[in-house]
């Protein structure tokens, strides 16, 4: 976990060096990159993986009562 935190801090520091202009970012809006389509994936995470696997978390869901078959 410590290595992961070091990596995150490095990412933050490095990120300040990258500036992509707004007109260059158009391609990132393509739905094929799934930047704004995480809802369906969250449903799968919450309904299925969280009830079959012991390491819940990191899926950004609210949770608490899953309506699932365990």
């Amino acid at each position: 976990m410590r290595k992961f935190l070091v990596f995150v801090i490095l990412c933050v520091l490095v990120s300040g060096c990258v500036t992509v202009k707004s007109y260059e970012r158009e391609k990132l809006l393509d739905p094929i990159l799934e930047r704004k389509n995480q809802f369906a994936k969250q449903t799968l995470e919450q309904k299925f993986f969280s009830t079959r696997e012991g390491s819940l978390g990191g899926a950004s869901g609210i949770g608490g009562g899953c309506g699932c078959a365990k």
């Binding site: 500036t19 970012r25 990132l28 739905p31 369906a40 390491s55 949770g63 309506g67 365990k70």
Partner: protein, 379 residues
Amino acid sequence: MRKYLKPVSLLLLPVLLAWTGVSAFAEGDQMSFTTYYFSDSGDNSVFTSSFNLAKKLMQQTVLLIDIELDNVSVPAITAVTGATRPQRRKSEPFKKNRGQIIIGVEQGFGQNTTVAGNFYRSQEVDYTSNAVVATLSQEMNQKNTTLSFRGQYNADLVGKISETGELTNRRKKVYTGAVNLSQILSPTTVLDVAYDFVYLRGFLSDPYRQVRVYDALGASTIVDELHPSTRARHAGTLRISQLISSIRGSVIGSYRYYIDTWKVTSNTVEFKFNKYVFNDFVFSLDYRYYAQGGASFYKDRYVGPQYQTTGLRTADYKLKPFSSNNFGLSLTYLLRGLGKDNPDLEFLQNSAVEFMYFRYFNNLDFSADIIQANIKFSI
């Protein structure tokens, strides 16, 4: 095959509902319907319908509503198992429904800051959950960097229905903190890094699961499982999304590491490949590998008198060491083409219909088929 007919026919229902709801839309609104059907090798099944709306109230204020209904069926109990269902009428399948609602408001401040607050409630016959959630999202570095924070508090009631039909509730509290960094690395590459911390306190066992405990002579008794009353979970996720313009596709890879105070650790690797097969059709392949270690108190066989009293014991398969594979296929139809030449259908510019199938299996001799359909309207 017959068991799939009803769910598949119901998958079409959201499409009809969506068309009728679109007339109330205004610019900036988003609406989606999702149906989900799950069936596994243990004869468990779940059918879910959900509706999600983001309605713009003012220039920078958005109302969020999410409603979800589940229909769960768990098979009859034939022996002492880890099944999480009441013992009452154990020779019959157990069916239950769950309702969930999330209501929230998202407020923008200036060009780069968004704050949101949500209230969550989930209710089923033997489980109730209430939660409040707050999120802060800040864009920086000319919108190349987005930093988000989330805090959440859950107060849950874990119920048990006895053999006489009485309901007994026990409390569980959950505190969650999460931070997410999204960074544009190039005109075609995005990096996401996330860290989640979850602290749970209260009744953390499953009230229905039972464990067989042996004495030195090999005789056995059956007792309820007993987990620790606290648990702290840590999870870190790294995700890279790369657009590949030359083949009109994208590749998304992620890695997640997890560790908790019950000594469960896990590694998850996931790859997804998306490609336009026609102008507005996207075909996707998904693969996910997951491996976890067992909890410190997990045993295949509990021997000793301490396990009949205060000794920690579990019948939860989620606390065993195991690995799993999940393969997925999906087809997404982007409805933007329908709106191009027809002003009346302009609202379809950011809308899509998605169908997915997943096949899951692990080395504990468990497998499942999952079908999911999603329709999203966004103006």
